[in-house]
């Protein structure tokens, strides 16, 4: 555990991805099984103790320190594992034993109940130093957040064992911690686990944003254009083991969408957009959100907010892997397949005939009116299905975001990378009270933003918060209403859950207007004008 905690610390403080890969692959090569496999599981977010939930860790800490002091500390540090690691008092006489190995932690926690889990973790913390405590708590609570993505970890595996990373990604859904089958293959002790015919996630191909230089080359002869739908990218896989729906990141979200995961008499893999409503009557992203938030939707919700898949690509059809085929041909097969399937909740994303890029630009600007379209997808007719972002193959061309000048109202410290700085902001627009339309306007909250500022701006914002707090409500600081921020957002809709009556889609900081007086910020009426009809 000590070495694993050191690895986590190295990953956290190493800025360069290549150096991270170096640290990781060194660790893989020097750690025996099954510790190696369990460490890998933790690194890719596939290990978590069932009982060591944040509430339990917090309860453990409360036996060691006053609850209010803990709350103030947690508010400052922003990360539960780190707060407890730092606060944990050193025992007067440190027991004469070393921290446990990864695999002994996993097996000890395996079927421990909550009380036993507390006792175990508490004993381990007593025999560890701060960094080991930190690593141990990160490991048991899951979510390491040390700046190494699952992708980076798999690149490190590829590097350590000299195998193509695509081969590792492809079999990922077939293997479980501690990944004995994976390492047996990586060490050439057994053949590669086989995904054929199974309903597994295949890595997605992604698009680059279109820039001005690329624009000129877009012609109907070489490019296919379709709408970029404002839903959620999903992958539908049907195999001998059933039908599954995967999110963009490969999470199995089947249970939330029964209308799409009934068994099919076709095997294969479709790539498309999950949308709320019906093919002829698409509902808003806010509606879709209700379904995305539900692991098991009620019958009533399924009736009021149905979903469907708008397919735009086919990766596998029966026994044929189509990914090396140009998209032009894949689309023909897709069209045929959907016709045969005749599925009430799956339809085709149409290709748009166009004359030139100028016309596309006009369409892109106009698609704001519909609200259900985010822009355009532009794909090279001859593009094969690669995983990840490949240069010059697929482009996305989004409509411009909306912007508004708003006033910062409340601030809260962030978590993870942003922790210990004020980075979560609630902002407001001016509005008149309904009962006094001619009275003085007041500020009403219209949204929350967590991103869009640079690290340098974050520091300045943090200093602003500390110097301009007028009231504290637990971790929330109410601010002097002076700072105007230009926020960008993708859309705005009506919402009954917010006091202002509106909700923004993905608001983020665009610019901090240190110079602008608060009374010049936007009025709610201005924002209302952009609400999708």
């Amino acid at each position: 555990m000590i070495r694993f905690a050191r690895l986590l610390e190295q990953l956290l403080f190493t800025p360069q991805r290549n150096t991270k890969i170096h640290h990781l692959s060194e660790w893989f090569q020097n750690t025996p099984m099954p510790d190696r496999g369990w460490g890998l599981a933790a690194l890719v977010g596939e290990f978590q103790s069932k009982k060591a939930k944040p509430a339990l860790i917090r309860a453990m800490a409360s036996t060691k320190i006053d609850a209010e002091l803990f709350a103030i500390s947690y508010d400052f540090v922003g990360d539960l594992a780190e707060t407890v690691a730092l606060i944990w008092p050193e025992p007067h006489l440190r027991p004469n034993s070393t921290p446990p190995t990864l695999s002994s932690i996993v097996s000890a926690l395996g079927d421990a109940n909550a009380e036993e889990t507390k006792t175990l973790i508490s004993q381990w913390l007593d025999i560890s130093d701060t960094t080991t405590r930190w690593g141990l708590l990160k490991l048991t609570t899951g979510g390491l957040r040390v700046g190494a993505s699952a992708r980076t970890v798999r690149l490190a595996l590829a590097h350590a064992y000299g195998k193509p990373v695509e081969h590792i990604e492809e079999i990922w859904p077939l293997i479980q911690p501690p990944y004995t089958a994976l390492f047996d293959w990586l060490e050439d002790k057994s053949p590669r686990p086989n995904a054929d015919g199974k309903a597994v996630f295949r890595p997605l191909m992604l698009a680059h944003p279109l820039n001005d230089q690329d624009m000129a080359s877009i012609t109907p002869e070489n490019w296919l254009v379709e709408w970029k739908w404002d839903g959620a990218r999903v992958q539908l896989a049907s195999g001998q083991d059933g039908v599954r729906l995967f999110s963009r990141s490969g999470d199995d979200i089947s249970s939330g969408f029964p209308e799409l995961t009934k068994p099919l008499d076709w095997h294969g893999t479709l790539d498309g957009e999950l949308l709320a409503g019906q093919p002829h009557d698409i509902a808003s992203f806010q509606d879709l959100q209700q379904r995305l938030n539900r692991k098991k939707p009620s019958v009533k919700l399924m009736q009021t907010v149905p979903v469907f898949l708008r397919a735009y690509d086919i990766l596998i059809d029966g026994e044929n892997d189509l990914r090396q085929m140009p998209i032009e041909h894949r689309r023909e097969i897709l069209q045929q397949t959907l016709k045969t399937l005749d599925h009430p909740a799956i339809d085709l994303s149409a290709v748009l005939p166009f004359t030139d890029a100028q016309q596309l630009d006009e369409w892109r600007q106009k698609c704001r009116d519909g609200g259900l379209i985010e822009g355009l997808m532009i794909k090279a007719r001859n593009s094969v299905y690669h995983q990840g972002r490949v240069k010059g193959q697929w482009f996305k061309w989004k409509r411009d975001p909306l912007t508004a000048d708003v006033v910062l109202l409340y601030a809260q410290r962030g978590h993870g990378k942003r922790s210990s700085f004020f980075s979560d902001y609630t902002f407001a627009a001016w509005a008149n009270h309904g009962d006094q339309p001619d009275g003085e306007p007041v500020l009403v909250p219209v949204g929350k933003a967590y991103s869009g500022f640079s690290d340098a701006e974050l520091k300045k914002l943090d200093a602003f918060v500390r110097a301009n707090t007028i009231q504290r409500y637990g971790p929330v600081r109410e601010l002097k209403k002076t700072l105007v921020v230009e926020v960008a957002f993708d859309a705005i809709g009506l919402s009954s859950r917010h006091k202002s009556g509106v909700a923004m889609r993905f608001p983020r900081f665009q610019r901090i207007r240190w110079d602008k007086p608060a009374h010049e910020a936007d009025h709610l009426d201005t924002l209302m004008k952009w609400i999708d009809s």
Binding site: P15, I72, F76, V77, T83, I87, S419, A463
Partner: protein, 345 residues
């Protein structure tokens, strides 16, 4: 008859902590945050020692630091006060004792109307070869800082921390080890600790540290052989610093200056480095936990030691300290003094 409560003669004003006369007019300020008549300065950090006062009273070292930073005319009149030497203003006896924060840093002991008030200024209890160690003084009211007043701050032994640099140098002999350290106090302490740990090679310092390092050496603090890290035009660092230790102000860590160094390994020496996520945020590859302020346990132990009837808190994380003191049954209040920065550590 019991003496009147000291809040009759010392209280926080918008311009900082002030001792007042019977009519409520300030007799003098302590670390005034704006230009004032008579000001006692605890130590030379810029947020505590500001230029433009009429009359400044401080230790000779602090006065020298102010002169080095602001020029000879930083005040109309200056009065050096040696350790334990008493002076009187109105009905208040004043003397200074070491605070262990930076060279010349003092606690201000005030005796008036039968009560004793001690203003700690910034202070620490961990060993520091570059300044006189903190002396606890029993008092009625202890006015303390609270920069690191959170139970998460338990600063490790400074010599153990500094030796991590030497370990890293052995591991990466081709990388320039550039340490970000504030120009007054931290930089000189890092150098002195490296010397204590047995590092004898020249240490290269950024131009912004030159003057204050010289000042420390003039006051008899042995920093060994120092060489400028900067040479040639435009103040750019020398290419020949591979495998050397370079000290620079934190602001130079993130700019072009440090990126010109051969394969720089960015180290930051600060008490804030204890919070990994915060260290990560500042782009540091090797955080060095080295603080010139008292950590949580040292704050509480110091308050136990001076055993005051009341604790007043000047600046920092006062809510946690207030809570801990209330659990111990100690009366405490936060003064919410504005104008002292806690990042400059």
């Amino acid at each position: 008859m019991s003496p009147p409560h000291p809040s009759r003669w010392i209280r926080p004003l918008a311009s900082g902590l002030a001792v007042i006369d019977g009519m409520g007019a300030p007799r003098f300020h302590i670390d005034a945050t704006r230009a004032n008549e008579t000001v006692i300065v605890t130590h030379g950090h810029a947020d505590h020692a500001r230029p433009g006062h009429k009359h400044v009273i401080a230790t000779p070292e602090t006065l020298a630091i102010m002169e080095a930073r602001y020029g000879a005319r930083f005040a109309e009149q200056v009065t050096p006060l040696n350790w334990h030497e008493t002076m009187r203003i109105g009905d208040v006896d004043i003397h200074l004792v070491p605070a262990g924060h930076v060279l010349g840093s003092a606690q201000i002991v005030l005796d008036s109307q039968g009560s004793r008030v001690v203003v700690s200024g910034d202070y620490k209890r961990k060993p520091d070869p570059t300044c006189a160690a903190f002396e606890p003084v029993a008092c009625d009211i202890f006015i303390t800082e609270a920069t690191f007043a959170l139970p998460v701050f338990s600063h490790p032994d400074p010599l153990t921390e500094i030796s991590r640099i030497l370990t890293s140098l052995a591991l990466f002999p081709a990388r320039a080890h550039v340490i970000g350290a504030y120009s007054l106090g931290k930089a000189q302490r890092v150098i002195a600790l490296l010397r204590q740990a047995g590092y004898e090679a020249p240490i290269f310092i950024h131009g912004a540290l030159q003057k204050l390092c010289q000042l420390y050496q003039d006051h008899g603090i042995d920093l060994g052989k120092l060489e400028p890290a900067t040479s040639g035009q435009k103040g750019m660092p020398q290419p020949a610093l591979a495998g050397q230790i370079v000290i620079a102000p934190p602001s130079a860590l993130s700019d072009r200056w440090s990126r010109r160094l051969p394969d720089p390994l960015i180290i930051m020496a600060s008490g804030w480095m204890q919070v990994k996520q915060r260290a990560k945020q500042s782009g540091v590859e090797m955080p060095l936990i080295l603080s010139d302020h008292a950590d949580w346990n040292d704050l509480l132990a110091t308050i136990d030691e001076v055993d005051p009837k009341e604790v007043w808190i000047t600046h920092g994380r006062e809510d946690a300290l207030m809570r801990a003191l209330s659990l111990k049954g100690v009366t405490a209040k936060a003064l919410h003094l504005i104008g002292y920065e806690d990042d400059a550590e």
